[in-house]
Symmetry: C2
Subunit: 384 residues, 2 copies
């Protein structure tokens, strides 16, 4: 079923998906005098003399920016700022629905890295956190790192870290299902863009010893001379066994395949050469690297996708609302890999007895945001 | 009575004055599929192929940015971005309360003119209009003019044009009260900053033939060699009679005094030298150039201030909500002096029989926003 027509009708009816409301009364002259002049000078003066009071008297403590440059929107590619807005508004709606966070969409009319960094830093004062969205790799990584260093509020690129965190949560429970230890597994990640590179970095930081990354040209290895800085970085700490050649070669003896690449890259004969009880996460959206029925038939013990019409949906919405809720509540300045691992573990624990068809809680499970936010807040406090 | 304590309590209780709400249901998987992936790709594709569809499918058609650099906030001066936020949120609240417009506050962490222009242009896609606020003169004029030229959405600096429009509305009815014709009046404007310079320009554009501007050093005239570019510009089309020296000299025979300067600059002996039935608008806030009782005693026929505790409150909130409502509804790309004159005339007409104590409708008069917006929309359509 296509949602195109009903989605267009929904967006047209409401003129988008957000509105800004006032939370204070404005019905009398006295109301105006408290919310605006002359009374408003009092909180202004307080903040001028103690900048931390901005968390007390303004919307900063509950407000997040959802920012894109429109360069890598969904599977649609570089469609630009205006056309990206429905996605950014949708993300803001999810922030509200799942974590009660007030999020506002900002689509930038520039795709220059320096300009993006400068612009986001310039508009940061009103926000308690920055969620970067749908910015193409490897630019997204430079932008995120530079902003995280410059700003005193958390900067989170969901396509990278939201995806990596939910994948780690899924792997934790999938490993339980097949009776293996995650840190001793050999994992092949297909795709070395924003999501793939973040998954590799988070798995590495978790302690997975043997990770191989592949792109459309095969294994990402130091022997290749066609790699940019990001893939070079990944090659520097992956592929321990010095595997060569293509995805098929990399998958020999692998315990898990994690695909964030494109439809059709995984073939039944590749699953056949993997280790016993292979795990297949085919996360390309909306069409996965291999359809679940086919993966099962080819021998996969656990299969996950990004789709809501199959079991084991690995969806970022399980992660980013709780991460930001925890970061805002804990007044955390920077979201670290340790916090993401804590979030993944908390998410995995919500399924105490995982099975092949149930490794991750459903999107609407009401406990998700509270356990993830508590884990992040807790990890943040421990690290301070 | 001071509003300081109740204002602080109000701001702390609600953590500011705004929240972002979703306008679409998000309770089922189908809801998610329409508002977010995969359905959201449909409006994205429509906008990518026809950018004007952004007005149909996103919040752009009802959303305005309230932008400051914190350089000239209320009477508090250059208190910076963070401390300006309570004012910007308050302005957004007024947009919602009076015109149903969704406004979002952006306080910039830069006071460099080029950076400000670049930043506002970069974040413009989601907004249907830009309201600049509390930016110091003469920078505010350069910023506004450059942005208005660059962007295809209206850019309005309320401290300039909101003030100028409500002053013109007040003068139209004050002229009626004293039985004079506005275009033939001699008007002295005290203050040559953002508000003063905009008042002078709008009165000139309306056809007031004899305008004199003064600053703290006296009459702004071509003979002075201490003027910056803005005052030079004002001097080029004002002071027809080549008046010299101080405010007292300028006021000889003047029909109206319009003060946007500071408390105490107007003295009884100055009113004494004005023409018959002098009009005194003492708009410095919160303390006017002269208190109304004193102005009356000195012979003023009509007195107006910016205060809510005296008759004839000339408040920008009578103007900017309707101006933006009309601009958004009429899809107007640029707010022209003609539209401001139309708005002022519409506002003035709401008081069909003005008296000395009643030249302008009260702030909560419910017809204000509709007549102002209709006038702007109408003027916009006539000019296209």
């Amino acid at each position: 079923m296509s949602y195109d027509d009903t989605s267009l009708a929904l967006h047209e009816k409401h003129h988008g998906k957000l509105r800004v409301e006032t939370t204070v009364p404005l019905e009398t002259k006295d109301d105006l005098a408290r919310a605006y002049t002359p009374g408003v000078a009092a909180p202004c003066r307080m903040i001028a003399s103690n900048p931390a009071d901005v968390w007390k008297y303004t919307i900063k403590s509950h407000t997040v920016a959802v920012i894109t440059d429109g360069s890598a929107v969904l599977g649609l590619g570089n469609i630009g700022a205006l056309a990206s807005l429905p996605v950014m508004e949708g993300k803001c709606a999810l922030f509200k629905r799942f974590a009660g966070i007030d999020a506002f969409p900002i689509a930038l009319e520039t795709q220059n890295v320096d300009e993006i960094v400068r612009t986001v830093a310039a508009i940061a004062p009103v926000f308690g956190g920055i969620n970067l969205e749908d910015i193409s790799a490897p630019r997204c990584i430079e932008i995120e790192q530079r902003l995280a260093t410059m700003l005193a509020i958390p900067v989170f690129h969901d396509d990278q870290h939201g995806t990596a965190t939910v994948v780690l949560a899924g792997l934790l429970n999938a490993a339980k299902v097949v009776g293996k230890e995650l840190s001793k597994m050999k994992i092949v990640v297909s795709g070395a863009g924003a999501a793939g590179s973040a998954i590799v970095r988070l798995l590495h930081s978790y302690g997975v010893g043997d990770i191989i990354v592949t792109d459309s040209k095969g294994v990402v290895t130091m022997h290749r001379d066609d790699l940019g800085w990001l893939k070079n970085l990944l090659a520097s700490f992956t592929n321990k066994s010095d595997a060569c050649c293509m995805l098929f070669d990399a998958l020999k003896g692998a315990d898990a395949f994690v695909g964030v690449s494109k439809p059709g890259v995984l073939k039944p004969e590749m699953i056949a050469v993997m280790a016993e009880k292979p795990i297949v996460f085919a996360l390309a959206n909306p069409d996965p690297e291999m359809m679940p029925e086919e993966a099962k038939k080819a021998g996969a013990a656990v299969v996950a996708t990004g789709r809501s019409d199959y079991p084991n949906q690995l969806n970022n919405v399980l992660v980013f609302p709780g991460i930001f809720r925890g970061a805002l509540d804990g007044r955390i300045r920077r979201i670290t890999p340790g916090m993401m691992v804590a979030a993944a573990e908390a998410l995995a624990r919500l399924v105490p007895s995982p099975t092949a068809e149930n490794i991750i809680p459903p999107v609407f499970e009401p406990r998700v945001v509270s356990v993830v936010s508590a884990a992040v807040k807790d990890a943040g406090q421990r690290s301070q």
